[in-house]
């Protein structure tokens, strides 16, 4: 009898949750999109009453692996083309569109304890934290260091790598280590640096060395809410959507 009560109770809890899930848009988004997407999600919910936008934020490659293994989602917004291409190759995503660009910058903790004023000073830092080469920010970091080696001398990348204390698995973990003052310097996206406010100082990377990260977004093939998903993608590319992204430090995509 008591068992039956428990089952009834459980079913009572479970049912409304399922009814709500019917109008839930699940967005898999790169960790660096956290703040901007939270706001875009709110305005999407306002313009679509009864719809709830759930964000699943992690490193792009982690999201890709989850999607490949059947994680249910409607939209995938990646911080690099590579992960999106992998899903395209497996026909797990529809044609992607670039909705934002992001620029890596150098960040140091407030007060700049190691006295770093430009990329060329980076080997002076005691402890540098970078992204693992498997994740987008880590791949960009390596490209930046290779380009810098052509400017500052062949050994530059090796001198920087000798100071690397950790290769973190997503850009927010890289940033967290600078915010805590554990790392003397790191390379993160400009948008992440903006999210950290006054806890970090931003040092732009020299022109010609820097790379620009492109963010593609696509509706997933197995989307449960394909229509809502397309509307969310449209919002990202609309003038108000681009304006919001710009406010969080993203470079917007001009009509080319």
């Amino acid at each position: 009898m008591r068992l039956l009560c428990l089952i009834a109770l459980w079913a009572g809890f479970a049912r409304p949750a399922r009814a709500e899930a019917a109008r839930e848009l699940v967005v898999f988004a790169a960790a660096s999109l956290r703040e901007a997407f939270a706001e875009l999600g709110r305005s999407f919910e306002q313009s679509h009453p009864g719809t709830k936008v759930a964000f699943h934020l992690a490193g792009s490659q982690e999201l890709r692996t989850q999607i490949e293994n059947g994680a249910p989602g409607d939209v995938f917004a990646s911080a690099d083309q590579k992960q999106m291409q992998a899903l395209l190759d497996d026909r797990l995503a529809a044609t992607p569109r670039v909705f934002a660009r992001n620029e890596p910058v150098l960040v140091v903790p407030a007060g700049n304890p190691a006295g770093i004023h430009g990329l060329e000073d980076l080997p002076e830092a005691q402890r540098i934290v970078v992204g693992a080469p498997e994740v987008p920010i880590g791949a960009y970091t390596l490209r930046i260091l290779d380009a810098a080696s052509r400017t500052y001398g062949a050994g530059f990348r090796a001198r920087v790598e000798a100071r690397v204390a950790s290769r973190e698995l997503n850009v927010r973990q890289v940033l967290a280590k600078v915010r805590l003052g554990e790392a003397d310097a790191a390379i993160v996206y400009r948008t992440d640096a903006a999210a950290a406010g006054s806890q970090v100082q931003v040092i732009p990377l020299p022109e010609g060395v820097n790379v620009v990260a492109e963010y593609p977004v696509a509706v997933l093939t197995r989307a449960k809410q394909p229509a809502l998903a397309r509307e969310f993608v449209d919002l990202l590319l609309s003038a108000p959507g681009q304006e919001k992204l710009a406010r969080f430090g993203f470079l917007t995509v001009g009509r080319k």
Binding site: E62, N69, V129, E134, S166, R167, E168, L169, L180, G181
Partner: protein, 272 residues
């Protein structure tokens, strides 16, 4: 009392055992069954494996030595001196077991980080812990200590008080009574606790990632290597996992054999 039998109670037990047993076994079987031998051998050749395995063995051996060494004295104190302080100590030793490892990692950062409670002091004396191998050991010791301490307290509580009294009347010092009577009598429980504690340390992930970072050869233990491999290739992660599971099974098997062997001298304490 008859156990099992063709009753509803017996059927419930059988059903629960089969369901839970299958649930616990299935993920492990999945790791093995979806990979062939060639994948396993591929895992052995993965460049992440060697440094990560060496580091995992080194750090868990160190953390286990710390936990068993200090934990034995701690547990003896708590088990043999009942009182308010002992109850407090016992509760404190349980804290790491009930907080999530990621929270433990944040706590360790805020305690031992450059700007941390103790870390700021250490920093002034030129000791930096974060991103170092000792940080890995601290993270592992923190999360695994409760498993040994709890088992050791239980084992020491079961040691017959009369044996210790006899040892003392025969002229043994308290330390000698502990070493010659207490430890052998509690040995099976201690070994079982050490095995659980070690298994927890080997699997430590969240606290290590946050507190020690992720650098090959320095702080990238096996679980971190699995996670890093997964960023690029699920199969590589899976084959690394297999190597880890195989080693863990082998060591746990040996430890269980040792534990059942240790039970013999434990039941019959040697003369002091």
């Amino acid at each position: 009392m008859k156990q099992g039998g063709p009753t509803a109670w017996g059927a419930a037990q059988a059903l629960a055992s089969v369901l839970l047993g299958a649930f616990l076994l299935l993920p492990v079987l999945a790791l093995f069954s979806t990979l062939g031998w060639s994948d396993f051998l591929g895992g052995l050749r993965n460049p992440l494996l060697g440094p990560a395995l060496r580091l995992s063995l080194l750090t868990t051996a160190t953390s286990l030595a710390l936990v068993v060494g200090l934990g034995s004295l701690f547990a003896w104190r708590v088990a043999r001196n009942p009182g308010r302080l002992s109850r407090w100590l016992e509760a404190v030793a349980q804290i790491p077991a009930v907080i999530p490892p990621a929270v433990a990692g944040v706590g360790l950062l805020l305690a031992f980080g450059r700007r941390g409670l103790l870390g700021a002091f250490l920093e002034r004396h030129g000791i930096a812990l974060v991103f170092t191998t000792p940080a890995v050991v601290l993270a592992e010791a923190f999360v695994s200590a409760p498993f040994f301490i709890q088992a050791a307290i239980a084992a020491f509580r079961r040691v017959d008080e009369n044996l210790l009294v006899v040892a003392r009347t025969l002229g043994a010092s308290p330390f000698r009574a502990f070493v010659r009577v207490g430890l052998p009598a509690a040995a099976p429980g201690l070994v079982a606790g050490a095995a659980m504690s070690w298994a927890r340390a080997v699997g430590e992930f969240g606290a290590t990632l946050l507190f020690a970072g992720n650098l090959t050869g320095r702080t990238q233990t096996m679980p971190l290597a699995v996670y890093t491999a997964m960023e690029s290739d699920l199969r590589a992660a899976q084959s690394l996992s297999l190597v880890l599971v195989a080693i863990a099974f082998a060591l746990l098997f040996v430890l269980r054999r040792v534990a059942s062997g240790a039970a013999l001298p434990g039941t019959e304490p040697r003369r002091a």
